[in-house]
Amino acid sequence: MSGVVLVDGGGTNIGSVRHALQRLGVDAPLVTEAARIRAASHVILPGVGAAGPAMRRLRELDLVDTLRGLTQPVLGVCLGMQLLFRASSESELPCLGLIDAMVEKLTPAAGLRIPHMGWNALQRVRDHALLAGIESGEQAYFVHSYAASAGAWTLAACDHGQRFSAIVQKDNFHGMQFHPERSAGVGSRLLKNFLAL
């Protein structure tokens, strides 16, 4: 397959996502040019760190309208998923606003550690080609302190003191709160499913 690009938003996990795609036989370049993003068959927006600096970088690269206007399959990973939402309580800048909901800090509670770090179970909420071959209860690797609640956009949920969105989809936009590039066989299956969309 060709035409997959990784939007270089400055996150340190971009290399890991690229390697995960290489393991699936796909060489995805890191790009920042709007034309190359628009021409791609699939667009992946990785990201770790904080929402504010990430949105600032997308604005500096003048990519906000480009990303919002994409019609091919798009996948946001971790922070990249959170950027699909209207806003995050972590940042004063609005996010991309493709999903009309907020990203909020996970609520600390007794016996509950924040960041939510480690392997946790996916619970299927809604059928979608992205979830092909994935059963409820299979685990993925999460590392995050902010999360989007579950709603109409949720394909799979996860629980860490509260239920939140693990995999989301609205129109051609998809997101994974966990790291598929670090989620062993489950992650590789999900990436493969995305590339087949």
């Binding site: 890991s16 770090m117 392997w119 685990q139």
Partner: protein, 256 residues
């Protein structure tokens, strides 16, 4: 429910996995990539590579192994050893490591923790604490434990330092209980229970694993998020799949 994690720790010197007393008598165990893949296939939840390469110049040359591991491994991994600045952390993270672990440099310059958290997010920043009980009964921090000749006993109490590290931006703490390390009599439950009560972020137990029951105990009694071990995994005396079955049978949530 969040699974409890099992983390094999591999010592790396000059680009190869070694075993032996740190900084002495090293025996090469094999290639980093081969051993990383073996642990991944056995169901390790995460890996820690402890870079014990003695000279910083050599370390820079040899860090190419981080990228080779990142290419083949699809579970998270952390690199410890020799990270003392935002620049050296960036090099390791951009090569594909998911986290960096800092220990002695954070004791020398505690601001480093906050600098790394600001640059990369708290989720990337692990602080390792080497702790030993003194004669007066207090657990205190040891620095430069990689080299017995250079190890220093500090006045800082271990659990005070743990709290400070979390306040400064550590996203995870590895508490290495030196009194238990290497003797395979079980994790230091007393110290880990005390640490757990003061640690709001994920806590990793290190030092003392000798048999499967020790892992059951540390998860059930000290409520740690992860257990790190080296020799019992490397020697094959504990196989990860069997250990996970035993943990599950004892009510500990694990990734099958």
């Amino acid at each position: 429910m969040l699974s409890r994690r099992l983390i094999p720790c591999l010592d790396v010197k000059d680009g190869q996995v070694v075993k032996g007393v740190r900084f002495r008598d090293h025996v090469v165990m094999g290639s980093i990539v081969e051993l990383a893949l073996r642990y991944r296939d056995e169901g390790a939840d995460e890996l820690v590579f402890y870079d014990i390469t003695a000279s910083p110049q050599q370390r820079q040359v040899e860090r190419s192994w981080v990228e080779r591991v990142a290419e083949v491994i699809d579970i998270p991994f952390c690199v410890a050893g020799g990270i003392d600045s935002v620049a050296s952390a960036r090099e390791v993270l951009m090569a594909g490591a998911d986290k960096v672990s800092i220990n002695s440099p954070a004791l020398s310059r505690p601001q480093l923790i906050g600098e790394l958290a600001d640059a990369f997010g708290v989720q990337c920043v692990v602080v390792g604490i080497d702790s030993l009980r003194d004669e007066d009964g207090e657990w205190r921090v040891r620095q430069f434990t990689g080299d017995p000749a250079k190890t220093r006993a500090l006045a800082r109490r271990s659990l005070d330092w743990l709290e400070e590290a979390v306040e400064r931006g550590a996203g995870e703490i590895v508490l290495n209980c030196m009194g238990a390390d290497g003797v395979r009599q079980g994790y230091d439950l007393e110290q880990l229970v005390a640490a757990r009560a003061r640690c709001a972020v994920p806590l990793v137990a290190s030092g003392g694993a000798g048999m499967a029951a020790h892992f059951v105990d540390v998860f059930r009694h000290a409520d740690v998020d992860a257990a790190l071990a080296a020799s019992v995994f490397h020697s094959g005396s504990i196989a990860i799949p069997a250990l996970k079955r035993e943990l599950a049978a004892n009510g500990v949530a694990v990734r099958p």
